[in-house]
Symmetry: C2
Subunit: 238 residues, 2 copies
Amino acid sequence: MIELIAFDGDDTLWHSEQLFADTQASYHELIAPYLDGDLQPAAIDDLLLTIEHRNLPIFGYGAKGFTLSLIETAIEVTGGRIAGVEVQAIIDLGKALLDHPVDLLDGVVDVIDALAGDRRLIIVTKGDLFHQETKVARSGLAERFWRVEIVSEKDEGTFRRILADASVPADRFLMVGNSVRSDVLPVIALGGHAAHIPYHLTWALEHVEDADPERLGYTQLRSISELPDLVTDLDRAP
Amino acid sequence: MIELIAFDGDDTLWHSEQLFADTQASYHELIAPYLDGDLQPAAIDDLLLTIEHRNLPIFGYGAKGFTLSLIETAIEVTGGRIAGVEVQAIIDLGKALLDHPVDLLDGVVDVIDALAGDRRLIIVTKGDLFHQETKVARSGLAERFWRVEIVSEKDEGTFRRILADASVPADRFLMVGNSVRSDVLPVIALGGHAAHIPYHLTWALEHVEDADPERLGYTQLRSISELPDLVTDLDRAP
């Protein structure tokens, strides 16, 4: 019997990576006038990813660190020629990302309602504390969840603490999310269950090469609407 | 008997506001070459505070939002003339702030050691989740605390939840911190105890006019070294 089901937030309950991609597209338009034709958007994206990765140990995850990395990348690719007005426009892109309405994925409300009656549901999400709280509040879902855990990293230690706080053994715990690296692997390592629901975009820093559900021992679903049947199956398992 | 003692982090356990002030001083030097002599540092600080206040509902508290507000202020006071190299230097100031070693206030280790044996101690701190976790880890104090609560705002709701999680009634709870607004008033409103230990600098957005310990019902201490005696007094109170 599954007693506790945890949901990732970004790209599992609500859209997120698409908003980052849209922001990045607007950013390309902003800096394009500074570039000669030789620098392709893909090369700028590669540099941005390098800078984001380098900044991660200082900034952590989230949209404010992303905005600072966008500015650093713009300074570097323009050889410092980017003007104040465009830097302000990049900050404004970051603010729009932080202030964006929450757009739930299809099927989320029905599935949460169907599952909330029988067991405890929690959200386990990482990123800017304030931004994630804002998104939970704007989602309209907060009252259906027993707890909301906003964490700086989803690793085994994080999930071990969450299970201890809830007094639930790992084999009665199911994590649901779009990231194999953050939502699946640490939970499987603890002996828990995990459902991977891919989003149509994956941030490169979350990408896992050759993730195989059967070999690694998790379930892959096409959409969250398939989740109640999985929970029923897990409940019946010996 | 006091069962649970909560400590604020920044400027209660470790220095913080002084680092922000030092960062701001370096920032003034950075942008000075762009300014004609008419604009005084105090006017720039006023504008920065206005911009920080305006950005608070989008950024929340913390050093990354502060860095973005520094950049916005620089763009505004230079009429957009600030160059990429100085914007990068501002980002580097922000990174240095985020990556700064943790410098504990005098007396903290002894007081925490003295109090930790008899009751649960927690940290309740606000700001960037990742930055605050880093500071707790670097403080070397983490193991003395039962829990670390990093929150986006310290209001009555936050403290009510913390007391419920710890199953402690308000009159057996003592909060210790340097901000009357965040560490004292919401705790007093719930019927708890609060000790205010002023730091030599207070961020303007935390300032409370005419705070009077006697009228508001909290205790003011000169340093954390006076805390064990206060706890003894509260334990003995009827």
